[in-house]
Protein backbone atom coordinates (compact mmCIF):
# COMPACT_ATOMS: atom_id res chain seq x y z
CA UNK A 1 0.00 0.00 0.00
CA UNK A 2 2.78 2.44 0.98
CA UNK A 3 4.88 1.36 -1.98
CA UNK A 4 1.91 2.08 -4.24
CA UNK A 5 1.58 5.55 -2.76
CA UNK A 6 5.28 6.26 -3.39
CA UNK A 7 4.95 5.18 -7.02
CA UNK A 8 1.99 7.49 -7.51
CA UNK A 9 3.80 10.38 -5.82
CA UNK A 10 6.79 9.87 -8.15
CA UNK A 11 4.48 9.81 -11.19
CA UNK A 12 2.85 13.06 -10.11
CA UNK A 13 6.26 14.65 -9.45
CA UNK A 14 7.50 13.57 -12.89
CA UNK A 15 4.42 15.16 -14.47
CA UNK A 16 4.97 18.36 -12.54
CA UNK A 17 8.59 18.54 -13.68
CA UNK A 18 7.57 17.87 -17.29
CA UNK A 19 4.77 20.43 -17.16
CA UNK A 20 7.03 23.16 -15.83
CA UNK A 21 9.99 22.30 -18.07
CA UNK A 22 8.60 24.43 -20.89
CA UNK A 23 8.91 21.70 -23.54
CA UNK A 24 5.26 22.33 -24.35
CA UNK A 25 3.19 25.37 -23.54
CA UNK A 26 1.53 25.42 -20.11
CA UNK A 27 -1.82 25.51 -21.88
CA UNK A 28 -1.43 21.96 -23.16
CA UNK A 29 0.66 20.53 -20.31
CA UNK A 30 -0.83 22.22 -17.26
CA UNK A 31 0.87 21.71 -13.88
CA UNK A 32 -0.86 19.81 -11.09
CA UNK A 33 -2.24 22.95 -9.51
CA UNK A 34 -4.16 23.94 -12.65
CA UNK A 35 -5.51 20.39 -13.00
CA UNK A 36 -6.59 20.46 -9.37
CA UNK A 37 -8.38 23.76 -9.88
CA UNK A 38 -10.22 22.31 -12.88
CA UNK A 39 -11.17 19.26 -10.85
CA UNK A 40 -12.33 21.31 -7.88
CA UNK A 41 -14.49 23.53 -10.06
CA UNK A 42 -16.11 20.43 -11.60
CA UNK A 43 -16.67 19.06 -8.12
CA UNK A 44 -18.14 22.42 -7.03
CA UNK A 45 -20.67 22.57 -9.85
CA UNK A 46 -21.33 18.83 -9.51
CA UNK A 47 -20.69 18.13 -13.19
CA UNK A 48 -17.88 15.64 -12.51
CA UNK A 49 -20.27 13.49 -10.46
CA UNK A 50 -22.80 13.48 -13.22
CA UNK A 51 -20.19 12.48 -15.79
CA UNK A 52 -18.80 9.79 -13.53
CA UNK A 53 -22.22 8.44 -12.65
CA UNK A 54 -23.19 8.23 -16.33
CA UNK A 55 -20.01 6.31 -17.16
CA UNK A 56 -20.29 4.02 -14.15
CA UNK A 57 -23.91 3.21 -14.97
CA UNK A 58 -22.99 2.25 -18.53
CA UNK A 59 -20.19 0.02 -17.24
CA UNK A 60 -22.46 -1.53 -14.61
CA UNK A 61 -25.31 -2.26 -17.01
CA UNK A 62 -22.94 -3.48 -19.72
CA UNK A 63 -21.10 -5.75 -17.30
CA UNK A 64 -24.34 -7.09 -15.85
CA UNK A 65 -25.54 -8.04 -19.34
CA UNK A 66 -22.14 -9.57 -20.13
CA UNK A 67 -22.30 -11.62 -16.92
CA UNK A 68 -25.80 -12.79 -17.73
CA UNK A 69 -24.63 -13.97 -21.16
CA UNK A 70 -21.16 -15.29 -20.39
CA UNK A 71 -21.66 -17.18 -17.14
CA UNK A 72 -24.41 -19.55 -18.30
CA UNK A 73 -22.89 -20.03 -21.77
CA UNK A 74 -19.37 -20.50 -20.40
CA UNK A 75 -20.61 -23.09 -17.93
CA UNK A 76 -22.47 -25.00 -20.63
CA UNK A 77 -19.39 -24.87 -22.87
CA UNK A 78 -17.11 -26.06 -20.12
CA UNK A 79 -19.40 -28.89 -19.12
CA UNK A 80 -20.99 -30.16 -22.33
CA UNK A 81 -19.02 -31.03 -25.47
CA UNK A 82 -22.03 -30.28 -27.68
CA UNK A 83 -22.28 -26.67 -26.49
CA UNK A 84 -18.55 -26.31 -26.85
CA UNK A 85 -18.70 -27.53 -30.45
CA UNK A 86 -21.53 -25.15 -31.29
CA UNK A 87 -20.13 -22.02 -29.65
CA UNK A 88 -16.39 -22.37 -30.00
CA UNK A 89 -16.23 -21.18 -33.66
CA UNK A 90 -18.43 -18.18 -32.87
CA UNK A 91 -16.17 -17.22 -29.97
CA UNK A 92 -13.06 -17.71 -32.09
CA UNK A 93 -14.39 -15.36 -34.79
CA UNK A 94 -15.93 -12.68 -32.60
CA UNK A 95 -13.38 -12.47 -29.78
CA UNK A 96 -10.48 -10.88 -31.72
CA UNK A 97 -12.63 -8.07 -33.19
CA UNK A 98 -11.94 -4.88 -31.19
CA UNK A 99 -15.17 -3.62 -29.68
CA UNK A 100 -14.56 -0.11 -30.96
CA UNK A 101 -14.56 -1.41 -34.53
CA UNK A 102 -18.27 -2.04 -34.02
CA UNK A 103 -19.04 1.56 -33.07
CA UNK A 104 -19.97 2.90 -36.54
CA UNK A 105 -22.31 -0.06 -37.17
CA UNK A 106 -23.88 0.07 -33.74
CA UNK A 107 -24.47 3.80 -34.16
CA UNK A 108 -26.00 3.09 -37.55
CA UNK A 109 -28.39 0.57 -36.01
CA UNK A 110 -29.24 2.18 -32.70
CA UNK A 111 -28.28 5.82 -33.15
CA UNK A 112 -26.05 7.84 -30.87
CA UNK A 113 -26.80 7.34 -27.20
CA UNK A 114 -26.80 5.00 -24.26
CA UNK A 115 -27.91 1.89 -26.11
CA UNK A 116 -24.97 2.09 -28.49
CA UNK A 117 -22.45 2.76 -25.72
CA UNK A 118 -23.76 -0.02 -23.48
CA UNK A 119 -23.68 -2.49 -26.38
CA UNK A 120 -20.03 -1.64 -26.99
CA UNK A 121 -19.32 -2.30 -23.31
CA UNK A 122 -21.18 -5.63 -23.50
CA UNK A 123 -19.21 -6.67 -26.54
CA UNK A 124 -15.90 -5.68 -24.99
CA UNK A 125 -16.47 -7.55 -21.73
CA UNK A 126 -18.41 -10.66 -22.74
CA UNK A 127 -15.66 -12.62 -24.44
CA UNK A 128 -12.88 -12.45 -21.88
CA UNK A 129 -15.45 -13.40 -19.29
CA UNK A 130 -16.88 -16.23 -21.37
CA UNK A 131 -13.41 -17.56 -22.07
CA UNK A 132 -12.47 -17.60 -18.39
CA UNK A 133 -15.71 -19.22 -17.25
CA UNK A 134 -15.42 -21.83 -19.99
CA UNK A 135 -11.81 -22.69 -19.19
CA UNK A 136 -12.44 -22.47 -15.46
CA UNK A 137 -15.26 -25.00 -15.64
CA UNK A 138 -13.32 -27.24 -18.00
CA UNK A 139 -10.31 -27.44 -15.70
CA UNK A 140 -12.16 -28.11 -12.45
CA UNK A 141 -10.58 -30.90 -10.45
CA UNK A 142 -12.72 -33.87 -11.63
CA UNK A 143 -12.52 -35.49 -8.20
CA UNK A 144 -14.92 -32.82 -6.83
CA UNK A 145 -17.48 -33.68 -9.48
CA UNK A 146 -17.13 -37.40 -8.79
CA UNK A 147 -17.35 -36.95 -5.06
CA UNK A 148 -20.49 -34.84 -5.53
CA UNK A 149 -22.09 -37.23 -7.99
CA UNK A 150 -21.81 -40.24 -5.70
CA UNK A 151 -23.63 -38.12 -3.11
CA UNK A 152 -26.47 -37.57 -5.58
CA UNK A 153 -25.62 -34.08 -6.81
CA UNK A 154 -26.87 -33.81 -10.38
CA UNK A 155 -28.02 -31.18 -12.85
CA UNK A 156 -28.70 -27.77 -11.39
CA UNK A 157 -27.52 -28.72 -7.90
CA UNK A 158 -24.18 -29.90 -9.25
CA UNK A 159 -23.74 -26.53 -10.98
CA UNK A 160 -24.87 -24.54 -8.00
CA UNK A 161 -22.98 -26.37 -5.25
CA UNK A 162 -19.87 -27.68 -7.00
CA UNK A 163 -19.11 -26.31 -10.46
CA UNK A 164 -19.82 -22.68 -9.61
CA UNK A 165 -17.62 -22.49 -6.50
CA UNK A 166 -14.96 -24.70 -8.08
CA UNK A 167 -14.72 -22.38 -11.08
CA UNK A 168 -14.99 -19.19 -9.03
CA UNK A 169 -11.26 -18.34 -9.07
CA UNK A 170 -11.35 -18.27 -12.89
CA UNK A 171 -14.69 -16.51 -12.92
CA UNK A 172 -13.35 -13.72 -10.69
CA UNK A 173 -10.29 -13.38 -12.93
CA UNK A 174 -12.69 -13.17 -15.86
CA UNK A 175 -14.73 -10.43 -14.18
CA UNK A 176 -11.54 -8.51 -13.44
CA UNK A 177 -10.42 -8.66 -17.05
CA UNK A 178 -13.92 -7.90 -18.28
CA UNK A 179 -14.07 -4.86 -16.03
CA UNK A 180 -10.80 -3.56 -17.44
CA UNK A 181 -12.02 -4.04 -20.99
CA UNK A 182 -15.41 -2.50 -20.19
CA UNK A 183 -13.66 0.53 -18.77
CA UNK A 184 -11.60 0.98 -21.95
CA UNK A 185 -14.63 0.43 -24.16
CA UNK A 186 -16.91 2.83 -22.31
CA UNK A 187 -14.53 5.76 -22.73
CA UNK A 188 -14.04 4.95 -26.41
CA UNK A 189 -17.75 4.41 -26.86
CA UNK A 190 -18.50 7.77 -25.24
CA UNK A 191 -15.98 9.52 -27.47
CA UNK A 192 -17.44 8.05 -30.63
CA UNK A 193 -21.08 7.39 -29.85
CA UNK A 194 -21.27 10.66 -27.89
CA UNK A 195 -24.14 10.55 -25.46
CA UNK A 196 -24.68 13.66 -23.40
CA UNK A 197 -22.79 12.79 -20.24
CA UNK A 198 -19.82 10.64 -19.36
CA UNK A 199 -16.10 10.91 -18.65
CA UNK A 200 -15.22 10.06 -22.24
CA UNK A 201 -17.58 12.75 -23.44
CA UNK A 202 -16.04 15.19 -20.99
CA UNK A 203 -12.58 14.60 -22.47
CA UNK A 204 -13.87 14.88 -26.01
CA UNK A 205 -15.72 18.13 -25.36
CA UNK A 206 -12.72 19.58 -23.53
CA UNK A 207 -10.62 18.88 -26.61
CA UNK A 208 -12.80 21.22 -28.65
CA UNK A 209 -11.78 24.08 -26.39
CA UNK A 210 -8.19 22.91 -25.82
CA UNK A 211 -8.92 22.50 -22.09
CA UNK A 212 -6.02 20.20 -21.29
CA UNK A 213 -6.59 20.71 -17.55
CA UNK A 214 -10.14 19.36 -17.81
CA UNK A 215 -8.97 16.41 -19.89
CA UNK A 216 -6.28 15.55 -17.37
CA UNK A 217 -8.69 15.95 -14.48
CA UNK A 218 -11.02 13.46 -16.18
CA UNK A 219 -8.12 11.06 -16.75
CA UNK A 220 -7.23 11.39 -13.10
CA UNK A 221 -10.78 10.45 -12.07
CA UNK A 222 -10.73 7.45 -14.43
CA UNK A 223 -7.42 6.31 -12.93
CA UNK A 224 -8.63 6.68 -9.36
CA UNK A 225 -11.82 4.75 -10.07
CA UNK A 226 -9.89 1.95 -11.79
CA UNK A 227 -7.55 1.73 -8.83
CA UNK A 228 -10.46 1.69 -6.41
CA UNK A 229 -12.13 -1.24 -8.17
CA UNK A 230 -8.93 -3.20 -8.58
CA UNK A 231 -7.53 -2.66 -5.08
CA UNK A 232 -10.71 -2.45 -3.03
CA UNK A 233 -13.70 -4.10 -4.71
CA UNK A 234 -11.99 -7.08 -6.35
CA UNK A 235 -9.58 -7.64 -3.49
CA UNK A 236 -12.42 -7.74 -0.98
CA UNK A 237 -14.29 -10.14 -3.25
CA UNK A 238 -11.28 -12.45 -3.41
CA UNK A 239 -10.61 -12.21 0.29
CA UNK A 240 -14.16 -13.29 1.05
CA UNK A 241 -14.04 -16.24 -1.34
CA UNK A 242 -11.05 -17.84 -3.00
CA UNK A 243 -8.41 -16.59 -0.56
CA UNK A 244 -10.47 -17.78 2.37
CA UNK A 245 -10.85 -21.19 0.76
CA UNK A 246 -7.15 -21.51 -0.05
CA UNK A 247 -7.98 -21.64 -3.75
CA UNK A 248 -6.14 -18.52 -4.92
CA UNK A 249 -2.99 -19.37 -6.84
CA UNK A 250 -0.04 -19.12 -4.51
CA UNK A 251 -2.12 -19.91 -1.43
CA UNK A 252 -2.82 -23.40 -2.75
CA UNK A 253 -1.03 -26.22 -0.99
Amino acid sequence: MLRGAITIALLLAAWEYFARSGIFSRAITPPLETIAVALVSMIADGSIFRHTLATMLRVAIGLAIALAIAIPLGMLMGRYALWERILRPAVAVLMPIPSLAWVPLVVLWFGIGNVATVLIVVYASTFSLLYNVWMGVKTINPIWVRAAQVMNAHGWRLFRHVIWPAALPSIITGIRLAFGRAWIAVIGGELLASPQWGLGKLIFDAKEFLNADTMLAALFVIGVLGLFFERVVFQLLERATVNRWGMASGARR
Binding site: A147, M151, N152, H154, A166, W245, G246
Partner: protein
Protein backbone atom coordinates in the same frame (compact mmCIF):
# COMPACT_ATOMS: atom_id res chain seq x y z
CA UNK B 1 -28.87 -50.42 6.11
CA UNK B 2 -25.65 -52.08 4.90
CA UNK B 3 -25.98 -53.69 1.49
CA UNK B 4 -24.31 -56.60 -0.23
CA UNK B 5 -22.26 -56.17 -3.39
CA UNK B 6 -22.10 -58.74 -6.19
CA UNK B 7 -19.67 -58.66 -9.10
CA UNK B 8 -20.62 -61.19 -11.75
CA UNK B 9 -18.14 -61.94 -14.53
CA UNK B 10 -17.08 -58.31 -14.69
CA UNK B 11 -14.81 -57.53 -17.63
CA UNK B 12 -13.49 -54.16 -18.76
CA UNK B 13 -11.75 -53.47 -22.05
CA UNK B 14 -10.70 -50.10 -23.32
CA UNK B 15 -9.09 -48.99 -26.54
CA UNK B 16 -6.05 -46.75 -26.69
CA UNK B 17 -4.61 -45.22 -29.87
CA UNK B 18 -2.53 -48.27 -30.57
CA UNK B 19 -4.19 -51.28 -29.00
CA UNK B 20 -7.04 -52.76 -27.05
CA UNK B 21 -6.36 -53.30 -23.36
CA UNK B 22 -8.03 -55.91 -21.22
CA UNK B 23 -7.91 -54.20 -17.83
CA UNK B 24 -10.21 -56.49 -15.84
CA UNK B 25 -10.86 -60.06 -16.90
CA UNK B 26 -13.92 -61.97 -15.69
CA UNK B 27 -13.82 -60.90 -12.04
CA UNK B 28 -16.51 -62.28 -9.74
CA UNK B 29 -16.82 -61.88 -6.00
CA UNK B 30 -19.40 -61.04 -3.39
CA UNK B 31 -19.16 -58.73 -0.42
CA UNK B 32 -21.63 -59.71 2.29
CA UNK B 33 -23.63 -57.17 4.27
CA UNK B 34 -21.40 -55.45 6.82
CA UNK B 35 -18.34 -57.26 5.55
CA UNK B 36 -14.98 -55.49 5.27
CA UNK B 37 -13.38 -56.63 2.02
CA UNK B 38 -9.89 -55.64 0.95
CA UNK B 39 -8.93 -55.64 -2.73
CA UNK B 40 -5.21 -56.21 -2.81
CA UNK B 41 -2.83 -56.34 -5.72
CA UNK B 42 0.18 -54.84 -7.47
CA UNK B 43 -0.19 -51.76 -9.63
CA UNK B 44 -1.85 -52.59 -12.92
CA UNK B 45 -4.10 -55.23 -11.40
CA UNK B 46 -7.18 -53.12 -12.01
CA UNK B 47 -8.14 -52.71 -8.36
CA UNK B 48 -8.98 -49.04 -8.76
CA UNK B 49 -10.77 -49.83 -12.02
CA UNK B 50 -12.91 -52.41 -10.21
CA UNK B 51 -13.66 -49.88 -7.49
CA UNK B 52 -14.61 -47.28 -10.08
CA UNK B 53 -17.06 -49.77 -11.57
CA UNK B 54 -18.62 -50.41 -8.15
CA UNK B 55 -18.78 -46.65 -7.64
CA UNK B 56 -20.50 -46.26 -11.02
CA UNK B 57 -17.77 -44.08 -12.58
CA UNK B 58 -17.14 -46.77 -15.19
CA UNK B 59 -19.40 -49.36 -16.77
CA UNK B 60 -18.13 -52.90 -17.30
CA UNK B 61 -17.78 -54.11 -20.90
CA UNK B 62 -19.33 -57.41 -19.80
CA UNK B 63 -20.86 -58.61 -16.59
CA UNK B 64 -22.86 -56.97 -13.83
CA UNK B 65 -22.27 -55.03 -10.68
CA UNK B 66 -25.13 -55.34 -8.19
CA UNK B 67 -25.59 -53.41 -4.99
CA UNK B 68 -28.26 -54.71 -2.65
CA UNK B 69 -29.26 -57.05 -5.49
CA UNK B 70 -29.98 -54.18 -7.91
CA UNK B 71 -28.03 -53.06 -10.95
CA UNK B 72 -26.41 -49.66 -10.94
CA UNK B 73 -28.50 -47.13 -12.81
CA UNK B 74 -26.15 -44.19 -12.73
CA UNK B 75 -28.29 -41.65 -10.92
CA UNK B 76 -29.51 -43.27 -7.72
CA UNK B 77 -26.29 -43.72 -5.86
CA UNK B 78 -26.05 -45.40 -2.54
CA UNK B 79 -22.33 -45.36 -2.06
CA UNK B 80 -19.87 -43.41 -0.02
CA UNK B 81 -16.49 -42.99 -1.67
CA UNK B 82 -13.16 -41.99 -0.15
CA UNK B 83 -10.39 -41.28 -2.64
CA UNK B 84 -6.64 -41.24 -2.21
CA UNK B 85 -6.36 -37.61 -3.26
CA UNK B 86 -6.55 -35.14 -0.35
CA UNK B 87 -8.08 -32.64 -2.78
CA UNK B 88 -11.37 -34.57 -2.70
CA UNK B 89 -12.82 -32.23 -0.07
CA UNK B 90 -14.60 -29.14 -1.37
CA UNK B 91 -12.20 -26.30 -0.48
CA UNK B 92 -15.04 -23.76 -0.42
CA UNK B 93 -16.81 -25.56 2.42
CA UNK B 94 -15.73 -25.92 6.02
CA UNK B 95 -15.16 -29.42 7.41
CA UNK B 96 -18.70 -29.51 8.77
CA UNK B 97 -20.27 -28.26 5.55
CA UNK B 98 -18.29 -30.86 3.62
CA UNK B 99 -19.76 -33.58 5.81
CA UNK B 100 -23.20 -32.04 5.35
CA UNK B 101 -23.00 -32.17 1.56
CA UNK B 102 -24.60 -35.58 1.04
CA UNK B 103 -27.32 -34.78 3.59
CA UNK B 104 -28.01 -31.53 1.78
CA UNK B 105 -28.48 -33.45 -1.46
CA UNK B 106 -30.99 -35.62 0.41
CA UNK B 107 -32.89 -32.52 1.56
CA UNK B 108 -32.25 -33.16 5.24
CA UNK B 109 -33.33 -30.06 7.25
CA UNK B 110 -30.54 -27.68 8.24
CA UNK B 111 -30.52 -28.25 12.00
CA UNK B 112 -30.57 -32.01 11.69
CA UNK B 113 -27.85 -31.85 9.04
CA UNK B 114 -25.62 -29.91 11.36
CA UNK B 115 -26.14 -32.32 14.25
CA UNK B 116 -25.40 -35.34 12.08
CA UNK B 117 -22.27 -33.74 10.64
CA UNK B 118 -20.95 -32.88 14.09
CA UNK B 119 -21.67 -36.40 15.28
CA UNK B 120 -19.59 -37.91 12.47
CA UNK B 121 -16.81 -35.37 12.89
CA UNK B 122 -16.72 -36.45 16.53
CA UNK B 123 -16.52 -40.08 15.39
CA UNK B 124 -13.33 -39.30 13.43
CA UNK B 125 -11.97 -37.14 16.24
CA UNK B 126 -12.37 -33.76 14.55
CA UNK B 127 -15.22 -32.17 16.49
CA UNK B 128 -13.00 -29.17 17.29
CA UNK B 129 -12.24 -28.54 13.62
CA UNK B 130 -15.83 -28.32 12.36
CA UNK B 131 -15.57 -24.72 11.19
CA UNK B 132 -12.14 -24.95 9.61
CA UNK B 133 -11.56 -24.95 5.85
CA UNK B 134 -9.81 -27.98 4.30
CA UNK B 135 -6.64 -26.09 3.37
CA UNK B 136 -6.09 -25.39 7.05
CA UNK B 137 -6.08 -29.13 7.89
CA UNK B 138 -3.24 -31.65 7.59
CA UNK B 139 -3.44 -34.48 5.05
CA UNK B 140 -4.49 -37.03 7.67
CA UNK B 141 -7.19 -34.72 9.00
CA UNK B 142 -8.50 -34.08 5.50
CA UNK B 143 -8.82 -37.83 4.94
CA UNK B 144 -10.68 -38.15 8.23
CA UNK B 145 -13.13 -35.47 7.11
CA UNK B 146 -13.50 -37.37 3.82
CA UNK B 147 -14.37 -40.54 5.75
CA UNK B 148 -16.89 -38.68 7.88
CA UNK B 149 -18.39 -37.17 4.71
CA UNK B 150 -18.63 -40.55 3.01
CA UNK B 151 -20.49 -42.24 5.87
CA UNK B 152 -22.54 -39.32 7.23
CA UNK B 153 -25.35 -39.65 4.72
CA UNK B 154 -25.54 -43.33 5.55
CA UNK B 155 -24.80 -45.07 2.27
CA UNK B 156 -25.36 -48.81 1.90
CA UNK B 157 -21.75 -49.39 0.98
CA UNK B 158 -18.49 -47.55 1.60
CA UNK B 159 -15.73 -47.61 -1.02
CA UNK B 160 -12.20 -46.58 -0.14
CA UNK B 161 -9.45 -46.30 -2.73
CA UNK B 162 -6.04 -46.32 -1.02
CA UNK B 163 -7.14 -43.47 1.23
CA UNK B 164 -3.93 -43.41 3.27
CA UNK B 165 -1.34 -44.22 0.60
CA UNK B 166 -0.11 -40.63 0.55
CA UNK B 167 0.24 -40.33 4.34
CA UNK B 168 3.36 -40.87 6.42
CA UNK B 169 3.66 -44.27 8.12
CA UNK B 170 2.76 -43.11 11.63
CA UNK B 171 -0.33 -41.23 10.54
CA UNK B 172 -1.29 -44.21 8.40
CA UNK B 173 -1.23 -46.58 11.40
CA UNK B 174 -3.40 -44.15 13.32
CA UNK B 175 -5.85 -43.90 10.40
CA UNK B 176 -6.10 -47.67 10.11
CA UNK B 177 -7.04 -47.93 13.77
CA UNK B 178 -9.61 -45.22 13.19
CA UNK B 179 -11.13 -47.01 10.18
CA UNK B 180 -11.29 -50.21 12.22
CA UNK B 181 -13.11 -48.42 15.04
CA UNK B 182 -15.46 -46.54 12.72
CA UNK B 183 -16.33 -49.75 10.89
CA UNK B 184 -16.98 -51.65 14.11
CA UNK B 185 -19.28 -48.83 15.17
CA UNK B 186 -21.16 -48.34 11.89
CA UNK B 187 -20.99 -51.85 10.35
CA UNK B 188 -20.99 -50.63 6.76
CA UNK B 189 -20.25 -52.92 3.86
CA UNK B 190 -16.74 -51.81 2.90
CA UNK B 191 -14.59 -52.34 -0.18
CA UNK B 192 -11.08 -51.14 0.57
CA UNK B 193 -8.47 -50.97 -2.17
CA UNK B 194 -4.83 -51.24 -1.15
CA UNK B 195 -1.44 -52.50 -2.26
CA UNK B 196 -0.25 -52.80 1.32
CA UNK B 197 -0.41 -56.35 2.69
CA UNK B 198 -0.20 -55.37 6.36
CA UNK B 199 -3.01 -52.87 5.88
CA UNK B 200 -5.21 -55.52 4.24
CA UNK B 201 -4.56 -57.96 7.09
CA UNK B 202 -5.19 -55.30 9.71
CA UNK B 203 -8.55 -54.26 8.27
CA UNK B 204 -10.11 -57.03 6.17
CA UNK B 205 -12.62 -59.74 7.00
CA UNK B 206 -11.53 -61.15 3.70
CA UNK B 207 -8.82 -60.25 1.20
CA UNK B 208 -9.30 -60.65 -2.53
CA UNK B 209 -5.85 -60.92 -4.11
CA UNK B 210 -5.65 -59.72 -7.71
CA UNK B 211 -3.24 -60.57 -10.48
CA UNK B 212 -2.04 -57.94 -12.95
CA UNK B 213 -2.24 -57.62 -16.77
CA UNK B 214 -5.05 -58.48 -17.03
CA UNK B 215 -6.68 -57.99 -13.62
CA UNK B 216 -7.99 -61.31 -12.37
CA UNK B 217 -8.91 -62.78 -9.01
CA UNK B 218 -5.99 -64.88 -7.86
CA UNK B 219 -7.10 -65.89 -4.39
CA UNK B 220 -9.63 -65.09 -1.69
CA UNK B 221 -8.32 -65.28 1.85
CA UNK B 222 -10.71 -65.10 4.81
CA UNK B 223 -9.23 -63.55 7.96
CA UNK B 224 -10.86 -64.35 11.28
CA UNK B 225 -8.34 -62.78 13.64
CA UNK B 226 -9.98 -61.02 16.59
CA UNK B 227 -10.22 -57.22 16.41
CA UNK B 228 -8.49 -54.93 17.03
CA UNK B 229 -5.67 -56.88 15.48
CA UNK B 230 -2.14 -56.93 16.75
CA UNK B 231 0.32 -56.50 13.88
CA UNK B 232 3.06 -58.11 15.97
CA UNK B 233 1.17 -61.32 16.79
CA UNK B 234 2.19 -64.61 15.20
CA UNK B 235 -1.20 -65.13 13.52
CA UNK B 236 -1.00 -61.67 11.95
CA UNK B 237 2.44 -62.34 10.55
CA UNK B 238 1.31 -65.76 9.35
CA UNK B 239 -1.64 -64.21 7.48
CA UNK B 240 0.72 -61.76 5.80
CA UNK B 241 2.97 -64.62 4.77
CA UNK B 242 0.04 -66.48 3.19
CA UNK B 243 -1.00 -63.42 1.20
CA UNK B 244 2.54 -62.66 0.09
CA UNK B 245 2.71 -66.26 -1.11
CA UNK B 246 -0.34 -65.68 -3.30
CA UNK B 247 1.17 -62.50 -4.63
CA UNK B 248 4.26 -64.47 -5.57
CA UNK B 249 6.48 -62.29 -3.44
CA UNK B 250 7.42 -64.76 -0.70
CA UNK B 251 11.08 -65.05 0.01
Amino acid sequence: MAKRIDLRHVTLRYVTDTREVLAVDDVSFTVAESEFLCLLGPSGCGKTTIMNMIAGFLSPTHGDVLIGGARLDGTKHDRGVVFQDFAQLFPWRTARRNVEFGLEMRNVPKAQRKDTALEFLRLVGLADFADVYPHQLSGGMQQRVAIARAIAYSPGVLLMDEPFAALDAMTRDEMQRLVNDVWQETKKTVVYVTHNVAEAVYLGDRVVVLDAHPGRVKAEIPLDLPRPRDPLSATFVEAQRTILGHLGMQH
